[in-house]
């Protein structure tokens, strides 16, 4: 099979070591780190409320197609699926009014990389942040997805991607560690200061 440039990119960004959460062997450890960061963000004034109680998980053996059972961990930040972007549903609210939620599926690494046997590995995720009109962003929302390995998108070479405010538009993305993703949502997805934007525009 011919390996196109995007397939090569896909292979690089979803290499095993980007999917494995080194040293994270159980959902409780991951949940604790995410809750800690959220609590700290509230204290720092980045979040309008302490949403750490919205991070929860289930860790179960799930029957897979073909009769096999596999341990799967679901870590959820929020409660309901919010495809209609309804702000009345539970979410994390930043102090600037942007709001987000997320969900992550993981499984134990199969031991292909011996040193990571037992560490959790990302199967998929979705992190979506919405920007209210008052923030003046030209993009109303942004979503980072990691699709299931067998999803159609992987065949189209974009398993890890982001949607810039349009479900039909996607661009390749790095695979985000949950702590990295949360940090992006909390801190770094801010508009550039006016001064910096002007200097960038002049380039």
């Amino acid at each position: 099979m011919t390996v196109g440039p995007l397939a090569s990119l896909q292979r690089r960004i979803t290499a095993a070591d980007t999917l494995i959460l080194a040293g994270v062997r159980d959902a409780k450890t991951l949940k604790r780190s995410l809750r800690s960061r959220l609590a700290a963000a509230f204290r720092e004034g980045r979040l309008a409320s302490d949403g750490s109680n919205l991070v929860w998980h289930e860790d179960k053996l799930v029957p897979l197609p073909g009769g096999r059972r596999e341990r799967v961990v679901a870590v959820i930040g929020g409660i309901e699926i919010n495809r209609k972007r309804d702000p009345s549903l539970a979410h994390f609210l930043r102090s600037d009014g942007a709001w987000f939620d997320f969900h992550i599926d993981l499984r134990p690494h199969d031991g292909t990389h011996q040193q990571h046997r037992g560490d959790l590995e990302l199967v998929g995720y979705g992190y979506e942040i919405r920007f209210p009109e008052v923030l003046g962003c030209s993009v109303p929302w942004l979503r980072f997805d990691l699709n299931h390995p067998a999803h159609d998108n992987e065949l189209r070479d974009v398993r890890a991607h982001f949607h810039p405010g349009d479900d039909d538009l996607q661009a390749p993305s790095a695979v985000l560690h949950p702590e990295e993703a949360l940090e992006l949502l909390l801190c770094d997805l801010l508009r550039l200061p006016d001064k910096r934007r002007r200097s960038t525009a002049a380039l």
Partner: protein
């Protein structure tokens, strides 16, 4: 208040004497103290837990007041409050009902604690049943399927590549096993 938030509150108080009364369900005193210790370390801080560690050996001292200590410690703490003040942040972990007696028997400690009384529980591994129920409802609505239809579709290979279906199966297993 969840353990991460309690821990953060304690860490933010380091640098000066501050006493907290952390009230917990009966029988969870030692578990909560261990969780607080782990959480503080996870947040980059340092804490000691009594009994076990030397009192005052870290910026945050967590004292478990349980068993005999509930009746024996208040008078001692009240008398030695000046020494204890040098230990920086001091968090007494005590059962909810015993907390009232403790403050009554140690009036000076009570004045040191002031309004810094926080109720918490040990971290629960189980997902909140209400959250699971609401999430499952939203999955059913989003896909227009019952749980049985979703399970059948998933196990037969349809939607096996959809991470929402994987999550759906995990939540169903959780609901079936009671959390």
């Amino acid at each position: 208040m969840l353990i991460p938030s309690v821990s953060l509150r304690l860490l933010e108080s380091t640098g000066g004497p501050a006493w907290y009364l952390i009230t917990v369900p009966e029988g969870t005193e030692h578990g909560v103290a261990a969780e607080l210790h782990a959480e503080i370390v996870a947040q980059g801080g340092s804490a000691c837990v009594w009994p076990g560690h030397e009192l005052g050996s870290a910026p945050v001292t967590i004292m478990v007041i349980a068993g005999d200590a509930v009746s024996k410690l208040p008078a001692y703490l009240d008398t030695h409050r000046s020494t204890l003040a040098n230990w920086g942040v001091l968090a007494f972990v005590i059962e909810h009902d015993a907390a009232g007696r403790f403050l009554h028997d140690a009036p000076h400690v009570a004045s040191f604690v002031g309004g810094r009384v926080i109720a918490t529980t040990a971290e629960d591994d189980d997902a909140p049943p209400e959250y699971v129920a609401r999430r499952l409802n939203s999955l059913r609505e989003a896909y227009g399927m019952t749980d049985a239809q979703a399970r059948e579709a998933f196990e037969s290979g349809r939607h096996a590549d959809d991470i929402y279906f994987l999550e759906w199966m995990v939540l169903l297993e959780g609901a079936r096993s009671g959390g």
